[in-house]
Symmetry: C2
Subunit: 358 residues, 2 copies
Amino acid sequence: MQQQLIFTNQVGETLDQLVTDINPSSVFVLVDPNTAQFVLPVLQADSKVIAAETSSVIQIPAGDIHKDLDTLRTIWQHLSDHQASRSALLINIGGGVITDMGGFAASTFKRGIHTINIPTSLLGAVDAAVGGKTAINFNGIKNQIGTFAPADAVIISSIFFPTLTIQETLSGYGEMIKHALLSSEQTLNDLLNYSIKNPPSDPDRLLALVKESVSVKENIVAQDPTEQNLRRSLNLGHTVGHAFEALALKRHSPIPHGYAVVWGIIVECILSNMLEGFNSEILYRLATYAKDEYGIFDITCDDYPDLLQFMSQDKKNILPDLINFTLLRAPGDIVLDVTPSHDNITAALDIYRDIMGI
Amino acid sequence: MQQQLIFTNQVGETLDQLVTDINPSSVFVLVDPNTAQFVLPVLQADSKVIAAETSSVIQIPAGDIHKDLDTLRTIWQHLSDHQASRSALLINIGGGVITDMGGFAASTFKRGIHTINIPTSLLGAVDAAVGGKTAINFNGIKNQIGTFAPADAVIISSIFFPTLTIQETLSGYGEMIKHALLSSEQTLNDLLNYSIKNPPSDPDRLLALVKESVSVKENIVAQDPTEQNLRRSLNLGHTVGHAFEALALKRHSPIPHGYAVVWGIIVECILSNMLEGFNSEILYRLATYAKDEYGIFDITCDDYPDLLQFMSQDKKNILPDLINFTLLRAPGDIVLDVTPSHDNITAALDIYRDIMGI
């Protein structure tokens, strides 16, 4: 099952058309306090369906700590108390917590009702391509309980991204930079010519970039649905990125995952330059962009043993002690399963510090 | 997705072979106090997998009132605490409560682990053909939350039926009589020549009857998966049966659903005889069997207005005031959507009282 992806900044109109096509018995809208305050009023002004007195709003607390069984029960209870039938529709409006948990509630209520997702975060929008995973956290483990249940449709719009923190937006853009590197130099240039920290006023440009990025991911997943080879390239930046995250945690000053991936991408592009001939001019442009938009993750050579240790423990490694990387000959020219020596990795970290001006 | 149905009374051996094929990372067994006491020891003696110290038993309280979110949480918690991975296996051993709830837990834990169902009730075994529906009750509504998730395999055996009450067994046999009437006179004769209340010692005969019955249902469902026409014939006996149940409830002395269906079948076969030429000799044999095995549901002509009222409210009716029946020209020769007059129905109830000796 494939979910319909719709890229538009005319959200209200698009939503009304979709709901007309689905023709649900009743309409429910799932929001958190953030989307209730900043997104719902916009949609209520634009969409007949959302504005209708017959549509019923379910508000749940914001944040991953509430992505749990208690909140799930609240959603089920609301649907049940309002006599939602099998042909009811749940519209999930929010970040990953809302779409994951709303998706799970909808896929299990009466064994599945209709759903439309409206991701309001850039990360959620970029992730929407690989659809159908729903979940809640359980017993302290992320996404421990869930289903595979594609939504009827996902409406992807850039107009709501400013309602979320710049940190969340930068994290999503990090994913897009990774996709661009796996696609082509042109796609990468498009991203590096756009400042996500200080975006121009035109949201349609960003929407076009998101659409391009989603199609890169769709292509990769379509070519390798069971993650035998190419799909593992989506781990680009993560070998070093996870090590940076672990080091930051050890220092008691955690960094956002998306930032760690961007800094990790820089190191892995340096390795790509050293071992696979990746163009150094592109590398420098990328590093400059990262520095300007994301700042710097500060390391010294005293951190190298820790970083190598963290990389050795990476669960992507196939043989013990051989650290597994996805590298690039050029943007879009992917080399899987490269295992550089520790000396190579150390040299790359030296160059990272040099380029970033540490 | 189709679940594998295996009819066998060598349960332990079959189970061990299935588990070898699935090759799970760990094995969990879901039981209630009843199956823990009467079924688990038999399997522990017969099956290496169940006897293994590595297999982990989850025991939950018996009964439909415990088919709820709290019990579900207990199952998830056990799987989580015992580090069940995506390739773990849950073996559900019990009646519908165990297989429905265990199936739901397994289909949602890490978005789906392996499952094998071993229905221990006759009704569960007969229902196993239409696989993949899992559920819990929620907010006082039966099966309000669930998934479509076929098990890897269902092992159907007759050796455990005596561990359940005779009432449950008779209810399951009522379903089988219905299937036989939808199939052929031969299938019906096979059932009427077997006393389910006082079964012979050979469980293999009953297993063969169950297998035949399941294949009838499979055929009907395969011919009409979306319940447009033929599948509605599975409502045979239910128009009058539901009315009998409602009347019994009004009298504050409820009757088991499966019994009500059998008595309903008698009345509907009388109507079939009156309106569609159904053979009266078969009708009498059927009525005698029902009387001997199920006893009699007692009605007087004073109950007719209530019964007609209950039938008029049946949600299967297409037009108001026209009571919709599935009737038979002969066993296996089905006539859908017959709407007899109230006089016809009253006459049939008169004949029912006469045949049953009321």
